[in-house]
């Protein structure tokens, strides 16, 4: 068979189909699961496939999705962030209390909340890179500190937030919530930065091998610290979104987001050792986790089984990736 020059170039860039599949096995696996789950659920419960339910699934995936973006950056850079759930809680409660006690415009309070998230991430990053402490221990310690801070802010429900926050959650264009459109834009931006900018390539390089990255004149400390700042901002944004969802500052806000985001990243094929994985896969994993929760509710499956099935997906996913890795 004779190939044209353009076809030869394309083959050289993409490699043969089997090679492409091996490199993107995780992404294919996740999206295949999403499609299969969707088809099965829609055949059992016709209401599941209605456009308003699909929009609802996307809206329900926002908090986990935004936190997972930050977690993906940190994991790709060779770290881990256990403090994201508590960062979301502290910022959510802080914003709620500030809104209840002051006349500061909501938009300014939101910006301040995001800045607090960035500061928490910066502190994590500095402690990890400058002192050389283990990321897991530092961020776990930060989780403990922030847990106390959250209780100091309030140990009970706060005042109801202004209507502006409800609008953030409820506003829609037709059946599509505006929050979902913003969410998709954030994911697109996160993909662009990771895949089309020098910083994104540096994150992969630092996570793959810090020593090699350093020899390549990459500022390892700055790159890693910035991943934690991104994670802090994402967690803060999730906390503010969760506040708009409940309308009241809740001391239980953000519970378990650290584990859910790590699980989503792992299912999506992000290596927990850094440097490998695709944010596209992580997005699919967020959809998978959210959709499975939605399906279980539609099919009235006990919560125990939800946890069991999610755990099984993680185990199957990790096994598949390890097998492919060895091949």
């Amino acid at each position: 068979m004779t190939l044209t020059l353009a076809e030869r170039v394309a083959r050289t860039r993409l490699g043969p189909p089997s090679s492409w599949l091996r490199r993107n096995g995780a992404v294919v696996f996740v999206y295949l699961l999403v499609v299969v789950l969707y088809a099965v659920a829609a055949s059992i419960s016709p209401a599941f496939g209605r456009p308003e339910n699909l929009a609802e699934i996307l809206r329900q995936s926002i908090a986990l999705g935004v936190v997972t973006i930050g977690q993906v950056y940190v994991l790709l850079g060779g770290g881990i962030d256990m403090s994201v759930g508590m960062t979301a809680r502290v910022v959510g409660l802080g914003v709620a209390v500030t809104m209840g006690a002051t006349t500061i415009p909501p938009i300014l309070v939101i910006v301040l909340g995001l800045a607090v998230g960035a500061a928490i991430g910066l502190l994590n990053g500095v402690l990890i890179t400058r002192i050389g402490a283990t990321p897991f221990i530092v961020t776990l310690g930060m989780l403990g500190v922030l847990s106390g801070v959250a209780l100091a802010i309030t140990d009970g429900p706060t005042d109801v937030v202004p209507d502006f926050f409800f609008t953030m959650y409820d506003a829609a264009i037709g059946p599509v919530p505006i929050a979902v459109l913003v969410f998709l834009l954030i994911w697109a931006a996160a993909w662009f930065v990771l895949n089309r900018t020098t910083y994104g390539r540096n994150v992969y390089a630092v996570g793959g091998s810090a020593d090699v990255a350093r020899l390549s004149a990459i500022n390892v400390h700055r790159t890693r610290t910035l991943t934690y700042v991104i994670s802090g901002v994402c967690a803060a944004a999730a906390g503010i979104f969760l506040l708009s969802r409940s309308g009241v500052g809740d001391p239980g806000l953000g519970q378990g987001l650290e584990f859910s985001s790590i699980v989503a990243a792992a299912i999506g094929g992000i290596s927990l050792y850094g440097g490998r994985g695709s944010i596209v896969g992580a997005f699919g994993a967020v959809l998978l986790v959210t959709m499975s929760s939605n399906i279980f509710d539609f099919l009235h499956v006990n919560g125990y089984f939800q946890q069991l099935v999610l755990g099984a997906i993680v185990l199957v996913g990790v096994s598949v990736y390890r097998t492919r890795g060895r091949q």
Binding site: N53, T102, I104, G113, P157, V160, L253
Partner: protein
């Protein structure tokens, strides 16, 4: 965050918008709930023909309280021809998961939602959204902020906590050293009971609170905390426990240490607490937060709403206290320590649910 950011110059004046203000407590009861008990809700707009599809969002059977609740709802629904389908959605204590379930139910459109909320604040907007979608929400077993529901069915949690503390103070003659043990920090019931106990003991100036600890509604953590508090305070005359699991742990700790048992004031007495109280001959006052009674009443109220019958904004469930003198009327030896009384179903239903004492 306000203080940290130095924004006190923008402090809001009193009286400005504060929709989630803490409910008022007067003389050991929730004054706002007492007022709601006199408010009649017209439910004619929810009236429809049965049999009905009813969604029950529950805590989940991860402890005896939740298991007793779920089994009561399932049994009562199965016996009632007006209930066509029961969609039981246990959240396993996860408020965020429960919000998600509420959102999913708005899409599924059941005839009514029975909600045992896992977060007083967290579920507030979800209740509003379901009501706005035309689905009546009946809240039971914990309240939610904002009162956007049709009706709330429960004991007065604050009053239960207050009375347990006040009875303990009276039993001690208004003086002595007491320790307080609470559930999970930040959780609605734990904080309501904590506030109630502190308010009650504040009326007895000769009672000293020598320790106040969260022990996560766990027997093991309660035992651990009681052991530490015993070491720090040689004289402990009374223990108040917001949820009897911690008091159960404390009884075990005192027994192991070979010390005489103090007097106890507890909320939500489990069968396990009653068994040990009987075995050790403990003096106590207990005030129930009865899952079976509340769950049964909640289903009955839900059916009333769907039939268009008027209900009260707050349907009060009586919570009569008891002590060691009538313990036998409340302890059920056939059932396990996890069971929380009183019995509202036939014994076989509890045994089938796995609550038989082994």
């Amino acid at each position: 965050m306000v203080a940290a950011l130095g924004l006190t110059g923008c402090a809001k004046e009193a009286g400005q918008e504060s929709g989630g203000a803490k409910p008022e407590k007067v003389d050991g009861v929730s004054a706002d709930l007492m007022a709601d008990a006199d408010v009649t809700v017209d439910t004619s707009k929810y009236k429809k023909d049965g049999p009905y599809t009813i969604a029950a969002l529950t805590q989940g059977p991860f402890n005896g309280w939740g298991l007793t609740w779920d089994e009561t709802v399932k049994y009562e629904a199965s016996q009632n021809p007006d209930v066509g389908e029961l969609l039981l959605l246990p959240s396993m204590g996860d408020a965020d998961g429960q919000i998600t379930s509420m959102e999913n139910l708005v899409t599924q459109k059941p005839d009514a939602i029975m909600l045992n909320p896992q977060g007083r604040a967290a579920l507030s907007a979800s209740v509003s959204r379901a009501m706005a979608a035309g689905i009546p929400v009946i809240v039971c077993g914990n309240n939610v902020e904002g009162k956007k529901y049709v009706t709330y069915n429960d004991v007065d949690l604050y009053a239960v906590g207050y009375q347990a503390a006040a009875k303990l103070a009276e039993r001690l003659g208004g003086k002595g050293n007491v320790i307080l043990m609470h559930g999970i920090a930040g959780v609605d019931a734990a904080e309501a009971w904590k506030q109630a106990a502190e308010d009650a003991f504040a009326k007895y100036p000769d009672i000293t609170i020598v320790g106040s600890e969260y022990a996560n509604w766990s027997v093991a953590t309660g035992k651990e905390k009681a052991t530490a508090l015993m070491a720090a305070n040689p004289q402990i005359d009374g223990i108040w426990s917001g949820g009897s699991e911690m008091a159960t742990g404390a009884m075990l700790a005192f027994d192991e240490a070979g010390k005489p048992q103090p007097a106890y004031g507890v909320d939500n007495p489990t069968n396990g607490f009653l068994r040990l109280a009987q075995e050790y001959g403990v003096e106590f006052d207990a005030f129930p937060d009865p899952p079976g009674t509340v769950a049964k009443a909640c289903l009955e109220t839900t059916l009333k709403v769907l039939k268009g019958e008027p209900v009260k904004k707050y349907e009060a469930i009586p919570a009569e206290g008891f002590n060691e003198t009538n313990l036998d009327e409340h302890y059920v030896p056939e059932l396990s320590d996890d069971f929380v009384g009183p019995l509202v179903l036939p014994m076989e239903a509890y045994i089938a649910a796995g609550l038989k004492r082994k």
